[in-house]
């Protein structure tokens, strides 16, 4: 049973068909001036309009990249560098995705000052906490929309409003949020946003970088005039076409999926309760498809393996060297390193292919494994 949709989702049948169609029918390079080129460009631009509509942006402000990681690298680096004359202070949070954190660390080595704002115990970074660290030198703030590990939603709209007033650029990593949240770049007052195809039933290796028109940004990948010189490289036409299809479907099914995922979440937690398991949920107000659960007294490394043996795929933290699991930096930021919840929590995430019966069965299996581990542990004392 696959319960790791936050890691990646299977491609939807429509997206696969869209991909296959573009791969076989669209032979041109979107930069070429001939008919085949125009056909490729039309395919790309159709997807661009679909994506733009989904986030309330003009089509010209939507760029295609190789994925969420590239979007984060490109946007943060490009915005920081292009606006360096206004200041060298950048702000982000301690619970961002590694592609955001590592980009900021690199910028620090290049002379920028970065403030990493801590979340509260609920995994939320308050707008006041952001406000406190802003200086005259601050040019850019990046706060993720919904956390990829615990799912907690951040007060993006309020932060956006604050930063609009302070004339500070605002980026949000909405890679996890797109599946279940309605995103509108104007309502959120964001200047830049990262999205990814494979979290919403699209292909891997394709992503979106939104940049508000008029905002200066340095290109990241150079060597061509594609994407209005902001991202060089021949467009990945089949993946872009499939991404467009996936976004369209994602928008059409969002409301009903959110309701379904909430049911799944209830089934999970009620099962754990009924089975008498000692557990708690990490973070409040989470994205509908993510639930992060701490199982008291359980070693997460062992739990993941035991669940895998039962054919249940969930995850925890981030992969460390040599295949071992490192405590999640998100949980460490929420609770501190010593807290045992950093070592006994798993992320369960839902997607379209699940059924209520399947989720109920998986919940029962997880409960059985956790109980068995507790028995074994007590037995060995």
């Amino acid at each position: 049973m696959y319960l790791d949709y936050a890691a990646t989702t299977p491609m939807s049948q429509q997206a696969i068909e869209s991909y296959a169609r573009a791969a076989s029918d669209v032979i041109g390079n979107a930069s070429s001036i001939h008919g085949d080129g125009r056909k490729a460009r039309a395919t790309v631009n159709k997807a661009r309009r679909t994506v733009a509509r989904a986030i309330g942006a003009p089509a010209n402000d939507v760029l295609f990249t190789s994925g969420g990681t590239e979007s984060n690298n490109f946007l943060l680096r490009g915005l920081a560098k292009a606006n360096v004359s206004r200041g060298r202070h950048l702000v982000t949070t301690a619970i961002e995705h590694a592609s955001v954190l590592e980009t900021f660390r690199r910028l620090e080595r290049e002379g920028f000052h970065v403030t990493y704002v801590a979340p509260n115990e609920e995994g939320v970074v308050a707008v006041e906490a952001i406000e406190q660290v802003l200086t005259e030198e601050t040019t850019l703030v990046s706060v993720m929309y919904g956390n990829n590990e615990v799912g907690t939603k951040q007060p993006i709209e309020a932060i956006g409003e604050l930063l609009r007033k302070r004339d500070v650029l605002f980026h949000t990593d909405a890679v996890q949020a797109l599946s279940v949240e309605t995103l509108d770049v104007d309502a959120l007052s964001v200047d830049a946003m990262s999205l990814s195809g494979h979290k919403i039933g699209g292909p891997k290796g394709i992503g979106v970088a939104y940049v508000r028109s008029g905002v200066a940004i340095e290109p990241f990948q150079v060597g061509g005039n594609q994407e209005r010189k902001r991202r060089g490289g021949t467009e990945n036409v089949p993946a872009i076409a499939a991404l467009g299809t996936a976004v369209e479907q994602n928008e059409a099914t969002k409301a009903s999926r959110v309701a379904t995922y909430e049911t799944y979440r209830t089934i999970m937690l009620e099962t754990f309760e009924r089975e008498g398991i000692s557990f708690s949920v990490n973070g409040t107000d989470a994205l509908a498809h993510i639930v992060n659960v701490s199982f008291e007294g359980v070693d997460v490394e062992t739990l993941l393996v035991r669940l895998d043996m039962e054919r249940i795929s969930v995850s925890s933290g981030s992969a460390c060297t040599a295949g071992t699991v490192e405590p999640s930096h998100v949980l460490v930021a929420m609770y501190g390193e010593a807290d045992e919840r950093t070592r006994n929590s798993v992320r369960i995430s839902f997607g379209e292919q699940l059924t209520e019966a399947g989720v109920a069965q998986a919940a029962a299996t997880i409960a059985r494994v956790v109980l068995r581990m507790n028995e074994k542990r007590e037995g060995s004392l």
């Binding site: 070693d299 490394e301 062992t302 393996v305 035991r306 895998d308 043996m309 460390c320 060297t321 040599a322 295949g323 071992t324 699991v325 581990m373 074994k376 542990r377 060995s380």
Partner: protein, 368 residues
């Protein structure tokens, strides 16, 4: 229980021995799971980490064999129970054996516990040793390849551990293992055997130790007190060692024959067979008797005092977890901190740590 229902968790290091162990068990029909132990982190500034490279090999082999694989982190357990012990012994002027401790505390304790949590029936390792399941328990026998036999390092295993252990290579010669790996086209077939202590790897031993322990240079003296030069720090020398003394001059080469810890003096003597290097008896601590047999309080058997040394006839007198071991013939360079391991024919009876060395009924106080 059929083999299909018997779950074996194989400790995989990314080397050819554990690779072939997993392959053989899979071919025999067991429910095999490969697990890599990450015990040490040597990630350098370029991001290179030996464990990552080794784990890549584990993945390649498990993909070829068609078994699931995982990784488990025992860095903390290793540091606390193996590495701290290792440093501590050096601080005491002794020469520890971290491989013995790694088997005792990590591979057959932390790892075995982990495997049991995965409902394993057995753990398997690529050691050259054999288990023989008898009526009254499990005996551990030397590996059929006597040149590769690793029972010396396994002397601290208990009956409970042996009951849960398989050594799939025990009946094979190393050359046969290589041939099996090559025939199966395993990714690790041509991989060089690791040498030395795992956490030091290919690095210079002296440099490594110097990073963790302060080295204090001092005098090298003969037993008569004649100063022969300076040493770099007592921890860098092992009894019977010739290299690194740097004493020239006429006559036979010089050897380390003892240490005066309180004066920071390294005792040296001329000639491989210097009489001060020879002793008649040792006292061992932390002695573990793994054999399922009942042993008398005093008995004769053979013993090894170093890895890959021929056995010596001894008389053992047991006293709880201690033992007095008297040699049939004087033995050269018995080194405190190393293991003494007892055998009856091919069966490993058990072993302990060499604590003191005796000659003519007196403990040698210069043997640190």
């Amino acid at each position: 229980m059929t083999k299909e229902q018997t779950r074996v968790v194989v400790g995989m290091s990314g080397g050819v021995d554990s690779s072939v162990s997993a392959l053989l068990l899979k071919e025999q029909g067991y429910d095999v799971i490969g697990v890599f132990m990450k015990n040490w982190d040597d990630t350098d500034e370029t991001g290179f980490c030996t464990a990552t490279e080794d784990y890549e090999d584990v993945i390649a082999v498990c993909e070829q064999i068609g078994i699931p694989y995982y990784s488990v982190n025992f860095e903390k357990e290793y540091w606390d129970n193996v590495f701290e012990y290792f440093l501590d012994e050096y601080r005491k002027g002794r020469t520890p054996n971290p491989d013995v401790m790694c088997n005792k505390e990590i591979k057959f304790k932390a790892f075995l516990d982990y495997a049991l949590q995965l409902d394993a029936d057995y753990v398997a390792m690529g050691h050259y040793a054999q288990v023989e399941r008898r009526e009254n328990g499990v005996a551990m026998l030397r590996g059929a390849d006597h040149n590769k036999d690793q029972t010396y390092f396994l002397n601290q295993l208990t009956q409970e551990q042996l009951e849960r252990t398989m050594f799939p290579l025990g009946h094979l010669q190393k050359s046969e293992v290589r041939a099996i790996a090559e025939r199966a086209g395993l990714a690790t077939a041509k991989k060089k055997d690791s040498t030395g202590i795992c956490f030091i790897g290919e690095r210079n031993f002296k440099d490594f130790l110097g990073e963790y322990l302060p080295s204090q240079p001092g005098e090298m003296q003969t037993l008569d007190g004649e100063v022969m030069g300076t040493h770099d720090g007592l921890m860098y020398y092992t009894l019977g060692q010739r290299h690194g003394l740097g004493i020239g001059g006429a006559g036979e080469p010089w050897f380390a024959i003892g240490k005066k810890l309180d004066e920071n003096v390294l005792l040296v003597g001329q000639g491989f067979h210097h009489e001060a290097l020879y002793s008649h008896e040792l006292h061992a601590v932390d002695v573990n008797w793994m054999t399922p047999r009942e042993l008398p309080d005093t008995f004769t058997c053979t013993a090894k005092f170093r890895y890959r040394q021929p056995d010596t006839g001894v008389t053992v007198t047991r006293d709880g977890d201690r033992a007095v071991v008297v040699f049939d013939e004087p033995v050269r360079a018995i080194t405190p901190g190393q293991a003494v391991v007892f055998y009856d024919g091919d069966e490993c009876l058990g072993g302990g740590t060499i604590d003191t060395v005796w000659k003519d009924g007196q403990p040698l106080d210069y043997v640190g």
